[in-house]
């Protein structure tokens, strides 16, 4: 069992700097945006780069493993007993930090060109910088509440960036949806925190994990399940995935950074971070694995039915994250993280490549109105091609190794059903990715835009840079199983789990699985080719696509009715209740009761006044009536007393 997280109270000031630099950037850009102008972008890029450098410098500190204490630690503030806050940099958070700041830097740099001339240039970079800060908060916290804070703040940043062009009602709606669903996740995590705190009286990871063995199974499952809600909401897992496709309303760089590379993988981070909890709860592992598997499949299936280039990528992201979640769920932490790592590169590359296309075609996103672009923008074509090969897991591209680990992990950890699902998904993935590639780049151009504006170097350079890792990094780090640098890097963190499974070898070897998966990938490719890339398909593409659009299975066009169900069950019912209470119960029943009291008081007053007829004799009569009742009382009271 790894007790390496108990580093509370340590000091590592570098960590503070690397954490707070982006925040400074955000504040400056937010406050002095107009004055800064284009400088804002460069400032943010510089600061993110700086914190990347700092992260690189802290490699040693993060990987140090002295006295059972892995990583570097910086304490921040203590609210009250049990509420100690601190930062933690260990291999896990280091990897995320690298991606957040590294890929983040590239994308910010890319945005310099992409957001060129936008009305709210500075605001965009303020948000981006704020997002980086928030994401760092998430991965660097050494306790659940800090994690939750980051969790909420990235949700806010994503809200701002999805709704960045907030004059668009669709963007506003998408932002609202994303935010609320993410809050559902936050609520789930809060509940997990309550459960944990009630048990261990601390919010620190260390205390919770140290005590993980002592949790009652039901309690532990509860904790993991509620954490899973958080992970599902943030990582767009079924059934809380519906916000991710809509999130594509945001600018493309945002989709690349937040909704592909980093934020949506927070769920993976969460499960990996809480490995000690999951390891003690097989049911929880099964739950998360199942969620991930189902999401991977559904995402892939829905990806085949999309026409919007960014939505295709969004569903593929959802599917890929499904893979990761499944992997870390079943216990193949390295595998999941490696897929996250490589995915960050090639998915960012895909989005940025798509961004090149969209930018060039004046925000045209429908692949039906693309085609033949490889002639117009060969650079984009090659970029996309490499990325597609990477994501489909064609050796020796990086995706091959990571996905291989993930899929084989299912078998290793004894989940053949999940293995089947993920293998199938791999095939579908290759189908829809090549479909995208063929539709966009092969054949004849089907759109109207004659010559959009060509992307500048600030956009091309980052994409070019990304090509390298998405091609090579898998082979460089992850080939060679146990002895691979990747495995050795994570050995101190997840070594125990790996060892736990080492002694039950699955039925078929890793090589065998690779062959099966690759065969499915080929099949997917062939179908895609046959449907979209044969000469006749290319010739009469327009009517074919129209026909396909018309005959698209309704269940797919309605996205499995998940949106509709959520809308009906939660949104509509809440609004109904609200209207009933606010327009019916409140004014007419509750307040009505009050008004009735007033009414009866006035009525009583009228009764009293009705005796004031003004007639002396009537008054005398009333007087005498009163007197009589007195006399009667005083006459008979004594009788009553005597007998």
């Amino acid at each position: 069992m790894t007790h390496h997280l108990l580093g509370v109270g340590g000091t590592y000031p570098l960590l503070l700097a690397l954490w707070l630099l982006p925040l400074a950037g955000a504040v400056v850009c937010w406050a002095f945006g107009p004055q800064l102008g284009r400088l804002a972008g460069w400032l943010v890029a510089g600061l993110v780069a700086a914190s990347f450098v700092l992260a690189a410098l802290s490699w040693g500190a993060a990987t140090q493993n002295a006295a059972g204490m892995l990583g570097a630690n910086q304490r921040l503030v203590a609210w009250m007993p049990g509420f100690d806050f601190g930062l933690l940099l260990d291999p896990l958070s280091l990897i995320w930090t690298f991606i957040i700041t590294g890929v983040g830097f590239l994308i910010v740099f890319y945005s310099l060109g992409y957001m060129e001339g936008d009305g709210a240039f500075a605001r965009f970079f303020a948000y981006m910088s704020f997002f980086v800060f928030a994401m760092l908060t998430l991965v660097l916290s050494d306790n659940f509440v800090g994690l939750l804070v980051g969790w909420g703040l990235v949700g806010l940043a994503s809200y701002f960036l999805i709704g960045f062009w907030f004059e668009r009602p669709s963007a506003v709606a998408a932002a609202r949806k994303a935010f609320v669903i993410n809050v559902v996740g936050d609520a789930g995590m809060m509940f997990a925190i309550f459960l944990i705190f009630a048990k261990v009286h601390s919010i620190g990871f260390g205390d919770a994990f140290a005590a993980a063995g002592t949790f009652a199974p039901a309690l532990l499952f509860g904790v993991c399940a509620t954490l899973t809600i958080g992970a599902a909401a943030k990582s767009a897992q079924v059934p809380l995935h519906t916000w991710l496709p809509d999130a594509m309303e945001g600018p493309t760089p945002v989709s690349a950074l937040i909704h592909a590379a980093t934020m949506v993988t927070a769920g993976v981070y969460l499960v990996a971070r809480c490995a000690p909890l999951w390891n003690h709860s097989p049911q929880a592992q099964l739950l998360v694995g199942a969620v991930g598997g189902v999401t991977a499949l559904i995402g892939a299936v829905l990806g085949t039915a999309q026409w919007d280039i960014k939505r295709i990528l969004a569903y593929s992201t959802m599917s890929q994250i499904g893979y990761m979640i499944m992997a870390v769920g079943v216990g193949a932490y390295e595998g999941g993280i490696s897929l996250f790592f490589t995915h960050a590169f090639f998915k960012a590359q895909l989005f940025l490549g798509a961004g090149l296309v969209i930018h060039a075609l004046n925000n045209e996103q429908d692949v039906r109105r693309m085609g033949g672009l490889w002639k117009r923008m060969p650079f984009a074509f090659w970029v996309m091609l490499t990325a597609v090969l990477a994501i489909t897991g064609v050796p020796p591209f990086s995706g091959f190794f990571s996905k291989d680990e993930v899929i084989y992990g299912d078998l290793q950890f004894g989940h053949p059903a999940l293995f089947a699902i993920s293998a199938l998904t791999a095939g579908i993935t290759s189908y829809y990715m090549f479909r995208l590639l063929f539709l966009a780049f092969l054949g004849e151009y089907r759109g109207e835009v004659e010559h959009g504006h060509a992307p500048g170097w600030t956009m091309n350079v980052p994409v070019a840079i990304l090509v390298a890792p998405s091609v090579a990094i898998g082979g460089a780090l992850m080939s060679g199983g146990e002895s691979a640098p990747w495995a050795r890097f994570f050995a101190p963190q997840f070594g125990a789990e790996m060892a736990a499974v080492a002694h039950r070898p699955p039925a078929i070897s890793e090589g065998m699985t690779s062959v099966i998966v690759f065969a499915l990938v080929i099949i997917g490719f062939i179908i895609a080719w046959w449907r979209y890339a044969t000469t006749e398909a290319k010739r009469d593409a327009v009517p074919r696509l129209a026909g396909e659009t018309a005959h698209m299975p309704v269940v797919l066009t309605n996205l499995f009715y998940v949106d509709a169900a959520i809308d009906l069950v939660f949104v509509r019912s809440a609004q109904f209740l609200g209207n009933f209470f606010g327009r019916m119960l409140d004014p007419h029943v509750l307040d009505g009761a009050v008004r009735d009291v007033a009414f009866w008081a006035r009525w009583l007053g009228a009764v009293v006044r009705s005796f004031q007829t003004g007639l002396v004799r009537a008054y005398a009569l009333i007087l005498v009536f009163g007197a009589t009742s007195f006399i009667v009382y005083y006459t008979f009271a004594t009788y009553g007393m005597r007998h």
Partner: protein, 475 residues
């Protein structure tokens, strides 16, 4: 032959006689004073005399003496009631000075002084004859005062008051006769005889006697005269009635229940009174709800306020009497203050009675409006006024005496009453076009008395002057 009375006896009635003589002085002075200043002469003399009377009465505080064979008790709470009556008289006389055109008011002033004497006699009376004497002296004066203005309403109020009040008096003396028959004595002190506790004649007598008192206290269902008479009578008279009559009757009632009842019969003997008090607290307050005439509204309010005071007495505890006195004093200031404001905004006639004339007062005369607000809040029992403290004292005594149901009725009644009082406040402070623009004249006397009352009403909250060692001197 020599009279069987000692000098102490004469000195006991000195305050009353001082005021009575003052009344004569007013009449005489009126003959010799010039046309345009006579009203002020009358007022000045009357005020002077009343103040002297007040001082004389105050000097008796603590010096207990049963004058005239125990028929006239001074010291103790007599003094407190007499002081309240004196204050009421002063306040009302001032209103005479503030109101109306220069006219002969010497007569009214004198009559009011004599009525005050009657009330003061009631406060001190310790035997049935003295009670009757005081009551009639008070009432006869009031009949005249009510009808003293040449207005139809005024005459009507006088007639109603005359007939109803005399009827009630009839019950009172018939009751007195029965009491006399049951006990063979007219001294209240002789009624404490335990053997009477079971005597039906005594019970019946006490009952009919109480009818007379309850009428003067204007508790439901003996209240019917109150709204009409309050509305019809001239402003100063209403002010005087609202306090002095009640003070006198309350004094008699207090003496009756504290000093004149066989201990083990008190509960049963007084139950009807508590019941009508409870009814009054509700009926009086709901009666206020739809009124458009300030005097009428205050008439109904008086019905409820007396109910509150009786709640304090319900326990029959020494503290209860103190709180009743405290609340009565506070009530005197609230009411006199309210009437002073009314006088200040009525020119020659009775405009001060019509609530319409209060609309937007805050814009024209902010200070008057503020003072009126204080009085209304006090009547509603809101802080920072004596009304608030009085309420809590009354609640405390009723709770400790176990009369929770009265406390509950008090709470309910108060909640209702707020609506009526706050309605006037809102009238004064709302900014509507309907409000009249003409600025009310500055009336020094009325303003002064309003100011004094306001200050006292607030001050009494923070320095509750509840007269101590009252009860030992009741008998």
């Amino acid at each position: 032959m020599t009279l069987p009375f000692t000098g102490a006896d004469w000195s006991a009635i000195l305050p009353v006689s001082a005021i009575a003589v003052t009344a004569l002085a007013v009449l005489i002075a009126d003959l010799f004073s010039g046309r345009n200043d006579q009203r002020y002469v009358s007022i000045a003399i009357a005020l002077l005399g009343t103040i002297v009377g007040g001082i004389l009465a105050a000097r008796q505080f603590g010096q207990h003496h049963d004058a005239f064979f125990g028929g006239y008790v001074v010291g103790g709470f007599t003094t407190v009631f007499q002081e309240i009556i004196v204050i009421a008289t002063l306040g009302s006389l001032v209103l005479y000075g503030a109101l109306g055109p220069a006219q002969r008011i010497a007569g009214m002033t004198a009559i009011m002084l004599w009525s005050a004497c009657g009330a003061m006699l009631m406060a001190a009376a310790a035997n049935l004859m003295m009670i009757f004497l005081g009551l009639e002296l008070l009432s006869l004066g009031l009949y005249a005062l009510c009808g003293a203005v040449d207005r139809r309403a005024s005459r009507e109020s006088a007639l109603k008051y005359l007939i109803l009040s005399s009827t009630a008096t009839g019950f009172l003396i018939f009751g007195s006769a029965l009491l006399f028959g049951a006990t063979g004595s007219i001294r209240l002190a002789d009624f404490v005889n335990p053997v009477l506790a079971m005597n039906p004649l005594f019970w019946l007598g006490a009952g009919m006697f109480l009818i007379g008192l309850v009428f003067k206290l204007s508790l439901v269902p003996f209240h019917t005269w109150t709204p009409d008479v309050f509305q019809g009578a001239p402003l100063p008279v209403t002010a005087f009635m609202s306090v002095a009559t009640k003070a006198g009757a309350l004094a008699v009632f207090a003496r009756f229940i504290y000093a004149a009842l066989p201990a083990d019969a008190v509960q049963g003997l007084l139950l009807p009174v508590w019941i009508v008090a409870g009814i009054s607290m509700i009926a009086g307050n709901v009666g206020m709800l739809a009124q458009h005439d300030l005097k009428r509204l205050l008439g109904y309010s008086g019905v409820a306020q007396i109910g509150y005071i009786l709640v304090a007495l319900a326990g029959g505890t020494p503290l209860g009497l103190r709180y009743a006195l405290y609340y009565l004093a506070a009530y005197a200031f609230m009411n006199l203050g309210a009437f002073a404001v009314a006088a200040a905004i009525s020119g020659d006639g009775e405009e001060g009675a019509d609530l319409e004339n209060y609309r937007g007062l805050a814009r024209r005369r902010p200070w008057l409006a503020a003072a009126m607000t204080v009085f209304l809040l006090a009547l509603a029992g809101l802080p920072p006024t004596a009304g608030f403290l009085g309420k809590i004292l009354i609640l405390a005594s009723s709770v400790s005496a176990g009369y929770l149901w009265l406390a509950a009725l008090l709470i309910i009644g108060t909640a209702i009453s707020l609506y009526a009082y706050a309605k006037v406040i809102r009238l004064m402070y709302e900014t509507s076009e309907g409000a009249r623009q003409a600025l009310e004249p500055f009336v020094p006397l009325a303003w002064a008395s309003a100011a004094i009352c306001a200050v006292l009403v607030v001050a009494m909250t923070f320095y509750p002057l509840t007269p101590s060692n009252v009860l030992p001197l009741v008998r």
